[in-house]
Assembly symmetry: C2
Homo-oligomer: 193 residues x 2
């Protein structure tokens, strides 16, 4: 097990309905040292890629993305989930369905911050059905930019998102892939590399 799998095994809580709670260190309380270890690991896995921007989606992707960005020396842009009066002008828009919240959101990125010169690493905390990722990929494509890679903390390997994104040819690196989990015993099986 790597450092993140160990942490999930130790502090993650498995709930009915395929819910994995990692809110003590990943997406409500955030362990910044852990995020830096993730940044180091992503830097290794995307070695040689020409990355000049990180794109994530609010809210729980932002902290990871900002810490990871220090390992690449690039700015972060986060896609916003609702229309803001402060975000006027031309925007890229994608529809995203949330597994957690059971609702559809429009996510938007200002056209000022992505263009054909953008070489983008997409970062997010969770990958399940892949809807959020599809939205972010669509936004980079609409901007004429390049998705250089996708870095995810926790992938639910038993849902379709990861397979679909890899089938599309993207370099998708998930630091922990959960293949199964048992709410009765709390046991979590990670995919072997």
């Amino acid at each position: 097990m790597n450092f993140l799998e160990e942490r999930i095994q130790k502090d993650g809580i498995v709930k009915e309905g395929n819910v994995l709670k990692v809110d003590s260190f990943l997406n409500h309380q955030m362990d910044i040292d852990l995020f830096n270890m993730m940044g180091e690991e992503f830097k290794k896995r995307f070695e040689g890629k020409n990355i000049n921007k990180i794109l994530t989606i609010e809210a729980s992707g932002i902290g990871i993305a900002c810490i990871v960005a220090q390992h690449f020396n690039v700015p972060v842009v986060f896609a916003k989930k609702s229309k803001s009066i402060n975000l006027e002008g031309e925007m890229y828009v994608a529809e995203v369905e949330s597994f957690t919240h059971k609702c559809k959101n429009q996510v938007i990125v200002s056209k000022k911050y992505l263009d054909e010169d953008s070489h983008v690493l997409i970062i997010d905390d969770f990958l399940a059905n892949g809807c959020a990722l599809q939205g972010l990929i669509g936004i980079v494509q609409a901007a004429g930019g390049t998705v250089e890679g996708i870095g995810i903390a926790v992938e639910k390997g038993f849902q379709a998102g990861g397979k679909m994104i890899r089938n599309l040819g993207y370099q998708l690196e998930s630091l922990a892939i959960v293949d199964s989990m048992d709410p009765q015993t709390g046991k979590i099986e990670f995919r072997q590399r």
Copy 2:
């Protein structure tokens, strides 16, 4: 002018209705080097304070809070704006009205991550009417914790929030206090220290 005031003068855009757009470096695209300079500055201003947790609010506070947290070696907790099926159990709740979005939100923090041993530095990107801050302060108080200080990137000095929070006796440090701004000329006046 300090580094943040200079950046606001250079890249901030003044709009009608007392809107200051800083989305090219602060709250949509995020300049991580700038956030680290903010972290250094907050570390100086809160020298000697016993801080063991940073509390912020989604979404645009999260990036700043995570980078600042590295200068204090503490975890970050972010208050969530909507109820999530993944955030069960006992929660602290506050009502927060947003200046930007003209709506009321409930913000919630799990009781697991704040208690009477929490010595909290509250971090946020903007301070205007102070509603978000009041909510966060209320949550720390409900937990029996201590607000050791409040660090803000940009304060709108012509709105009531800053004065109110200082009158309550909190150490509130805003890195840039905008006393007036002119949408016609783009001129921004910062408070002298």
